[in-house]
């Protein structure tokens, strides 16, 4: 039996043995409990689920100091950032409680029986229902907001799906603490055993996605990790959806007019954004298209100046730090690439890096995400060459535009290229903040994601729901939300959307 260790990335020391890795038998038992819990949750109403999410948020808030200290010790992300991440996590749970209360996510639809040009139509009533137990893979870079108590867990529970979380190796003690708190809150709310389960170890993760009770997988992590899970899922007798949030280079474009107007501000903001949290954001802008010529030179100079001032950062774990070092060397070794600036090199951290290349020398390696505080500036000649370069990009979670006054967009070809390759278009800002809200979208084409869904924001709940239609059902057989007299949620009745 292999032990699971909590490790301090600042020193490499073992802080604690969190426990043994989860065995196959234990994974199976956890999934079986989740399957039973799924049926138990179905007996409860929407209001109960919303209250459960709020109780979980309260339980986390009540242990704020312990959670932040535990997470900081294993991730080195710092108490300020982790305090903010906990605030976000609790907000997210309460936000989904509001989504559940509001009820629009159910897409409740009633078509009464009647004549149609196709002949008589029966009474049809459609609603989304929970798919069943969901496997959630915690992410290294957000030990709270994208891990045990994070968005996948919140949206799955909001949908009525129990979760079996695979803890990330980088923060097992935080995972254990959060799972214990969520489970205590669930028990106090009368939730069935198996509503929140936790497993440790890569073998356990592999077992998990193959278990027949699992109906969907939520994953935030590397493209390689996601592809390995997709391959396992493809071997299942019955396919299930894999919702992966994977690699993203997050291009940023600075127009000539924007560079001319505010080079210093753009450079400083860019440097802050790509070094935030040691560059360990999935929305880190990793590739900036800056015009050649003096205005663009000023953007690069401002970025470089800001980068030189950045303190060294401790990355999430030794493996990630080593991969970052290799990644920077690979990028720097591309023909025509200049190392423009580096951050402060104090031990034990790693230094931020700014590279620069002419559009003519842009290589495929530069179109891939390099995790950590590094960015490549691509100097472009004119709008036509910019559009050509942008069409080489893979899809990203975000694309950012810095435009000049009265310049609402890029030239059409470049604008279209970006819109076809991004889940979110950010104007005159930076992509690293991802607000939890109704209109948020955190997804995109491959390799940013492999789905047409989001992992952040209200509609993340849709991933864990399936439609079910009742035909000519007696009133007593219908869920409350589909009975004629029900009010309190938006419904589409005979084609007309009726607000709550």
């Amino acid at each position: 039996m292999t032990d699971v260790h909590s490790i301090d990335p600042r020193t490499g020391e073992v802080l604690a043995v969190v426990g043994p890795e989860t065995t196959d038998e234990q994974v199976d038992a956890a999934c079986d409990r989740a399957a039973v819990a799924y049926r138990g949750i179905r007996e409860r109403d929407r209001r109960w689920r919303a209250d459960l999410l709020r109780a979980m948020a309260d339980a986390l808030e009540a242990r704020r100091d312990a959670i932040v200290a535990t997470a900081d010790a294993e991730t080195a992300l710092g108490p300020a950032r982790l305090g903010g991440e906990l605030t976000r996590t609790c907000y997210q749970l309460r936000f989904f409680a509001g989504v559940v209360d509001e009820g629009g996510f159910l897409e409740a639809t009633i078509d009464h029986a009647g004549p149609t040009p196709m002949g008589p139509r029966p009474d049809l009533r459609r609603m989304l229902v929970a798919t069943g137990p969901v496997a959630v893979f915690g992410a290294s870079n957000f030990p709270l907001a994208f891990s045990v108590p994070g968005g996948d867990t919140a949206s799955a529970l909001a949908a009525g799906c129990p979760v079996v979380v695979k803890a990330h190796e980088s923060h097992p003690a935080t995972s254990r603490l959060c799972a214990d708190l969520l489970r205590a809150a669930a028990a106090a709310a009368g939730a069935p055993e198996g509503t929140v389960e936790l497993v440790f170890g890569r073998a356990a993760g592999a077992r998990l996605v193959r278990h027949p009770a699992i109906t969907a997988v939520g994953f935030t992590g590397s493209q390689r990790g996601g592809e390995a899970l997709m391959a396992l899922i493809a071997e299942r007798p019955a396919p299930i959806p894999f919702y992966g949030e994977l690699g993203s280079v997050n291009p940023m474009v600075v127009t000539e007019a924007a560079a001319g107007e505010r080079a210093a501000a753009i450079g400083a903001g860019f440097a802050d954004s790509f070094t935030l949290g040691a560059g360990q954001f999935c929305t880190k802008p990793g590739l900036a298209f800056v015009p050649s010529g003096p205005a663009g030179d000023a953007v690069v100079a401002a970025t470089a100046a800001a980068v030189r001032d950045k303190p060294a950062a401790v990355m999430l774990n030794a493996g990630i730090a080593a991969a970052f070092g290799r990644g920077v060397e690979e990028l720097a070794a591309q023909a025509g690439t200049a190392r423009v600036a580096a951050g402060r090199p104090e031990a034990p951290g790693i230094a931020a890096e700014l590279l620069e290349v002419d559009e003519a020398d842009l290589t495929d390696r530069m179109l891939e995400e390099t995790f950590g505080p590094v960015a490549v500036v691509v100097r472009y000649r004119d709008p036509v060459s910019l559009a050509t370069a942008l069409r080489r990009l893979p899809s990203s979670l975000t694309a950012t535009l810095h435009t000049g006054p009265g310049e609402p967009a890029l030239e059409p070809a470049a604008q279209r290229a970006l819109e076809e390759r991004a889940g979110r278009i950010v104007y005159n800002g930076y992509p690293t903040g991802v607000a939890v809200s109704w209109a948020q979208h955190h997804g995109g084409g491959w390799p940013a994601s492999n789905s047409l869904h989001t992992s952040v924001g209200a509609t993340a709940i849709r991933r864990f729901l399936r439609p079910l239609t009742w035909q000519d059902a007696p009133e007593a057989a219908l869920p409350a939300e589909l009975r004629d007299a029900t009010t309190g949620l938006p419904r589409r009745i005979d084609g007309v959307l009726i607000p709550a």
Copy 2:
């Protein structure tokens, strides 16, 4: 070069050479044209797309006699059924025009900038946008409603996606005729070339799903055919969604009370439903659970009497007819299985078959779909043994319940087993009719489908849309549907759903 033949299934004679199979180069050219058309369609507004769908419906209606005659010659489905199918197909195109006009499918959502517990939030505006060209695979059993001018085409065009249809081998002349009519209507409406493309041959279909311009695949057909396409799609560098509507056994349960009340009506209705269209409906009820004892005996007797009266039917093609014959022999060879009744055996058709087995002898083979006019009656002892048997079932598009007066549902365990295994629950009716409407769902778990979406009804459009969020975008850069002053579609603004 292999020729594509239109064949009369009644005689096996070649009616016409429709043309050569599409070469790889021609498939690539069709996909490239569709990619260009995608950008052209994006320049048009929603109203234009709705009008295009209506113009297509008009164009099909105007050639009703030719379409029905061509389809009948190749499918033997008969002019009455095919006339009804054309009516449905035109209704479906116009229905999606209405969905496009109404605009709710866009999920337009505006969160204005403002403070939140997480800090200030930027202005975020989310809407669904077309994914890009869609590959559509025509189905053998619905040469119109699930083929060239069918639901996948209608919902993809409604979303703003050009389609490249792979014609089914069983009705190439119908496919050609319909594609010509749709393309003429598209051209008259000013649609870009490449809005509707058509390819012939299995190799062309394989090439199609691997083409980089294709962003989604809609498929209605056999589980084997679907799995072969899924394997090809898995080899793509960038995964795309495959929306398969595959095999479905469509269980039907008759309670003791229902059998006691109306055995004769249930038996006759069941026989009509499973032999409709030569049993070639994806919603054919293939497995009926009928209580043991006299009331159940009466249901079986009534079904058998009705089956004996059914005329022989010509199946869609010789391969399907041969597979049906093999399937019936396989089912009949299962231990404990009785051949209860057969339809009239006149050449050139095949005869319907009714089989019966005790629940103790139910084998896995009986849980698989057998395409054609055959059904198996499973005799069950009591509600407990029924629930046990139902838990063995795979997922289906539909599940049907015949209940007695004042009996709104099965016993909880059995009811739950059915609801977990069906996309649509039909009460006291038959599943073979699938109305096109807002609340329809035509999908289900594996192997009925591999997605959480429907291929019939308003929400089928969601398959070909992806979310895109604009952050702090200037008004001029936003699509019309996301500008503040826009009206005429439902939107969610700052969390509140506002009807049109």
